[in-house]
């Protein structure tokens, strides 16, 4: 579907799609994953050259000052290409916090490094006992003589094995479920007392469990106001929801393209399987699903700057709708490929798995419906 975009935005999207088409083959992706690096440093550098890494940041620090709509364009392209890069955490989650919460010194230190492709930031908001609840924060940060001591566990932190820095939530006051009392800290990856247990993920990334055992950080590593972290975290997660839904839209478009092609060439009973009406209708329904996933996500992108509740309600709505559409498109792409769709060899299964994982990232459908009702005042 053609949304109302500026010429510049259209060109940006086209150039990204072209870049991935010519420079990022599925086989290369799989090789990178097999090598266990978690991402491709070359591709990351190319993303820096293309300006993707500068996209969401303030021009004062070398960024392009892009909007949520620009993010949509970049992430849809990455979804189409199935890029397994630490973009969501570094650019969107950490990026939003840097833009919205960090002081000038932090911005000067970190943003240019990210833009140049030299700094990867992992983000730890979630904990083993907390499911999707951002306020379920049992990790503590205790102030003592000019520094904080951080203790606790963060779960399934993407890109943590290659990250140079983390930004994490920790409780400075209150009980583990309180909305008040959460603060945000930057922590160096090599900080004493921080251990990571890294592992590959189902969708081809690397992630880690982070264990903080009285990790000592200076008070200057606090970002945003003390105890007032939750609204910032919510904004960062809303941005990540919009970006990851755009990625899912890209995943779905690519899946539909491949499935269409497959159905036109695969023959059974003496004819291409695309000649069977049930297949045609399925492909139509998959396309209808994808278009509506795109629409609800673009809506959330366009509403992103219109006030907290409206922003969060729109993001939650996108999350719910995209999950639903992906639960139709993903399995059916596999289904129409037959046994071939069940293999690790074909890219289709990998797109499917990325969609499945996104469905359990930043809230599942249950959680997001409740969040929608809450934020929309229903």
């Amino acid at each position: 579907m053609d949304f109302v975009l500026t010429d510049e935005q259209k060109m940006f999207g086209e150039s990204l799609n072209k870049f991935f088409q010519s420079e990022y083959a599925f086989a290369d992706r799989q090789e990178t994953i097999q090598a266990g690096n978690g991402f491709s440093p070359e591709l990351w550098r190319s993303l820096a050259d293309l300006g993707v890494l500068a996209l969401p940041f303030d021009p004062a620090y070398g960024g392009f000052g892009g909007t949520a709509v620009d993010n949509y364009i970049a992430f849809e392209a990455m979804g189409r290409a199935l890029a397994a890069e630490p973009a969501l955490s570094t650019l969107v989650l950490a990026g939003t916090l840097l833009n919205q919460a960090s002081n000038q010194a932090q911005k000067e230190e970190l943003i240019p490094a990210i833009v140049a492709g030299e700094l990867i930031v992992g983000v730890g908001f979630y904990e083993p006992q907390g499911r999707f609840n951002l306020n379920n924060c049992a990790t503590t940060a205790v102030k003592s003589q000019g520094h904080y001591l951080i203790s606790g566990t963060k779960s399934v932190v993407y890109a943590a094995d290659t990250a140079d820095k983390f930004v994490i939530s920790a409780r400075t006051t209150g009980d583990p479920l309180h909305e008040e009392g959460i603060s945000l800290f930057f922590v160096d990856a090599d900080a004493y007392g921080l251990t990571r247990k890294s592992y590959p993920t189902v969708d081809g990334f690397m992630a880690s469990e982070l264990y903080f055992d009285e990790v000592c950080v200076p008070t200057t590593s606090l970002t945003g106001e003390v105890d007032k972290g939750l609204p910032l975290i919510e904004e960062a997660v809303d941005a990540a929801i919009v970006a990851s839904c755009a990625e899912a839209v890209g995943n779905m478009s690519a899946l539909i393209e491949r499935t269409l092609e497959h159905c036109k060439t695969r023959e059974a009973f003496g004819q291409p399987i695309s000649s069977f009406q049930v297949i045609q209708h399925r492909l139509v329904d998959m396309t209808v699903a994808c278009e509506h996933a795109a629409a609800i996500t673009m809506r959330a992108a366009k509403l992103f700057d219109s006030g907290e509740n409206e922003r969060s309600a729109a993001a939650a709505a996108a999350k719910v709708q995209v999950n639903k559409e992906a639960e139709f498109v993903g399995p059916n792409a596999v289904q129409l490929h037959g046994a071939m769709g069940m293999t690790e060899e074909l890219d289709v299964g990998h797109y499917f798995k990325r969609l499945v994982v996104l469905g359990s990232s930043f809230g599942d459908t249950h959680y997001s419906v409740r969040r929608y009702m809450n934020k929309a005042g229903l």
């Binding site: 189902v202 069977f276 046994a339 769709g341 293999t343 299964g349």
Partner: protein
């Protein structure tokens, strides 16, 4: 599950039989065997453990309980088989590589020569022989009749060229039953022969293929000038389709057993939700929304179960399952997949780590997160095959349209 059996109003003999089965299972099931069963992502458990279990069953005389007694079957009543099945699911026994026992054997019994019966059947029973099913080919799946693999007649031998694909566990098989094109005729299925082939024949090469769940579940098998004696024809030359019809009735059928497995799956789903947190200090199982979904699942399950039990009660022993069971299976497969989806969503973000090593029977690494998160994600992925393997959902719809609705 327990209530399932209580519903059946067992006679005192049946009660005794049940005790006997329970005792046998309690004595022979080990943690390893249970774990092998638990982490079965598609249809067959890690081969070594299935094999071990088959040996144990055989020693007890229960190597193929469904077979007629004359071939070594248990000679049980329908109710005894039901009890056996329920108890096995409850005890989480491994899923034995079953293409020999459940698919090839019934065909050998019906179409085999006396020599074939005497040679092959005991070996299947004892676990000496493991059969792979060589039907699908790279260009041919749903439209099996269009198969291409050549069998040239050369004296009293065939020479095989071509390849089979998606052949489950072929890397563990020592024999494979193959559909080959040995002739032609006016109909597409004319000229197909059903051959019993040794996997160690010169010219056979096996390449394992990994599924999206991460397991080397199936293979491509290449045949390059493979010579097979004509004594290995099952049924008549060029009339192998008669055998296939018989076999497919078994493969597509399933009958009453399926719903028992579904209850097993449901109990597992509940257990996952009991162990899982709701993210706010409680248990997921107590969450109102999740509870409602679970209840709806349970209701679907009751419908599936009652329908298929009624059908299997009407079925006569020894007959292939009826076409109506194909209709019911459309729904039961769907319900079965839905449960895996619910379980996958239940474990939330801990479905994301790739945990192949941790879910091996002998674990290679510690799990990330609690133990109960290991299964749901790969199980969800692996069970996508439920609407593809053994005939796709679309093909079953076509069959029901034709044979049940008369379209």
């Amino acid at each position: 599950m327990a209530d399932l059996l209580d519903d059946l109003n067992l006679t005192s003999e049946e009660q005794m039989f049940r005790e006997e089965v329970r005792e046998f299972l309690a004595e022979n099931m080990t943690d390893e065997l249970r774990r092998a069963s638990h982490f079965t992502m598609w249809a067959l458990s890690e081969f070594e453990y299935g094999k071990r279990w088959q040996k144990i069953l055989h020693q007890r005389g229960w190597g193929a309980v469904h077979w007629p007694k004359e071939y070594g079957g248990a000679g049980w009543t329908r109710m005894q088989k039901m009890i056996w099945h329920i108890e096995c699911i409850q005890a989480e026994t491994p899923s034995v590589m079953s293409m020999g026992r459940d698919l090839c054997a019934p065909c050998i019994m019906k179409f085999g020569t006396e020599e074939q019966k005497a040679f092959f059947l005991p070996r299947i029973l004892s676990g000496e022989d493991w059969w792979a099913q060589g039907f699908s080919e790279p260009g041919v799946g749903s439209d099996l009749r269009a198969l291409q693999m050549r069998a040239e007649s050369d004296g009293d031998e065939f020479v095989l060229n071509g390849s089979k694909i998606w052949t489950s566990f072929a890397d563990h098989a020592n024999r494979i039953f193959c559909l080959v094109r040995s002739g032609s005729g006016p109909k597409k299925h004319d000229g197909i022969s059903f051959l019993l082939v040794d996997m160690d024949s010169p010219g056979i090469e096996v390449h394992p293929i990994t599924t999206i769940a991460g397991d080397p579940e199936f293979c491509q098998v290449f045949f390059n000038d493979v010579r097979v004696s004509k004594s290995r024809l099952l049924g008549k030359e060029n009339e192998g389709w008669d055998v296939v019809r018989h076999l497919l009735a078994y493969e597509h059928g399933g009958g009453g057993g399926r719903s028992v497995s579904l209850f097993g799956r449901y109990n597992w789903l509940r257990e996952v939700a009991t162990l899982e947190s709701d993210g706010a200090g409680g248990r997921l199982i107590d969450d109102v929304d999740f509870g409602r979904q679970l209840a709806e699942m349970r209701i679907e399950l009751e419908a599936v179960s009652f329908a298929s039990d009624e059908l299997s009660k009407r079925a006569r022993a020894g007959e292939p399952p009826s076409r109506v069971s194909e209709l019911l299976a459309i729904r039961s497969r769907l319900v079965s997949q839905k449960m895996t989806e619910l379980a996958m969503r239940a474990v939330g973000r801990y479905g994301i780590p790739l945990q192949q090593g941790a879910r091996k029977v002998i674990p290679e690494v510690d799990p990330i997160g609690p133990e109960h998160v290991l299964k749901p994600m790969p199980f969800y992925l692996g069970q996508r095959a439920g609407t593809i393997a053994g005939g796709t959902d679309e093909i079953h719809h076509n069959n029901v349209a034709r044979h049940v609705l008369g379209l």
